[in-house]
């Protein structure tokens, strides 16, 4: 199995990981777009090796309030997958999904809206992971969605702590998406363990 050294990732490996982000997020974006019947574009994925202290910057700062939906991954790929949106985007998404009668401008989400958000997370993470699984022929099992609405730094501390057990930096594949009006935008973040990076690269012949 190929091994990956965090400090010596070559261009080829970067490209492959970026392509994984591209395909996974592409499928997830399509699923999201169909769900709310709106055109959603995604940006070119970033594969970044970040020091922990810079981690929250990728989503706009440690104190930015976001909705984070986290999945733990098991199987041939271990790690975490996170779907993050800021609060106005989540509100917009929930309103789109629940329809006119249930529209709300409230700052807090009620029980039903939270459940809808969880389901949105479930469907798009499913789309991301199944395309990844199809591409690599690896079995990936994901947990139920875990949701938190809080400061980005606090939410990201959970995957960061997992990564901190093996190194001082986190390697992540991050893809930003959004619609034309900037009403819905957010991030997919895939954080496999180091061994899982090896498994992904090996499965693709690297």
């Amino acid at each position: 199995m190929s091994r990956i050294d965090l400090n010596k990732i070559d261009y080829m490996q970067y490209d492959v990981l970026r392509e994984i982000g591209n395909i996974g997020a592409g499928n997830a974006t399509t699923a999201l777009s169909q769900m709310i019947n709106t055109k959603i574009d995604m940006k070119v994925p970033n594969v970044e090796l970040l020091e922990f202290k810079n981690l929250p910057d990728i989503v706009g700062g440690a104190e930015k309030i976001v909705v984070g939906i986290l999945f733990t991954l098991q199987g041939s790929i271990d790690g975490m997958m996170m779907f993050m949106m800021d609060k106005p985007a989540s509100r917009h998404l929930v309103n789109q999904l629940l329809g006119d009668n249930l529209k709300s401008e409230a700052d807090k989400f009620n029980e039903m809206e939270l459940s809808a958000l969880n389901e949105i997370g479930n469907i798009i993470a499913g789309a991301y992971l199944s395309s990844l699984s199809g591409l690599t022929n690896l079995v990936i099992t994901s947990s139920v969605p875990y949701m938190a609405i809080d400061m980005a730094g606090a939410i990201l501390s959970v995957p960061a702590i997992e990564f901190s057990k093996i190194g001082d930096k986190a390697l992540l594949i991050e893809t930003e998406f959004g619609d034309d009006l900037k009403a819905v935008n957010g991030y997919f973040i895939l954080i496999p363990t180091l061994e899982s990076y090896g498994a992904i690269l090996s499965s693709l012949g690297l």
Binding site: K53, P56, A62, E63, A148, M151, A154, S157, K165, I166
Partner: protein, 161 residues
């Protein structure tokens, strides 16, 4: 304008009045403030894990409760703090997600807090105040001038400890 010194995740720094020191968005990590009230010198560490001896790759001292506190004391003494005068205030160690399985990740916040308290007790550094546990993130600011620790969180009143 006095300076607000920022401490990131797995990071630590020291600060002398009238400046203040802060760390943003503490989740399951713990923010440890050490303070010499006489000299008005403070230090803040944002630790991620309880114990450096359980981890192979433990080069970054600020990442762990044990080595983080040790390094913080060293840095504070270097700029004139009195080791025996040190007191502490701690915050963080939340459980951000309600994980259903009883795994390690689930209890990491709690374990960080436990380890921090144990080490501070061993070093005979009194813990004057704490705001730990629960399920929300915290931003903390410490003012060596007054010894006050300000805690902000989403959906809660700001606290002063």
């Amino acid at each position: 304008m006095n300076e607000m010194i920022k401490v990131g995740m797995a990071d630590l720094n020291v600060c002398v009045s009238p400046n203040a020191i802060t760390t943003l968005g503490l989740g399951s990590c713990v923010g440890i403030v050490l303070y010499d009230p006489g000299k008005k010198i403070a230090g803040l560490a944002h630790i991620m894990l309880p114990d450096s001896t359980k981890i192979m790759n433990n080069g970054n001292k600020a990442k762990f409760a044990d080595t983080g506190i040790e390094e913080l004391i060293k840095r504070m003494v270097e700029i004139g703090a009195d080791r025996r005068a040190l007191v502490s205030k701690i915050a963080g160690g939340a459980q951000m997600f309600a994980f259903s399985n009883n795994s390690d990740i689930m209890r990491i916040g709690e374990r960080n807090v436990e380890a921090t308290k144990k080490i501070l007790n061993e070093l005979r550094i009194p813990i004057l105040a704490e705001d730990t546990g629960s399920n929300y993130g915290r931003t903390i600011e410490f003012y060596p001038e007054t010894g006050q620790l300000l805690i902000r969180s989403v959906g809660n009143e700001r606290k002063i400890l």
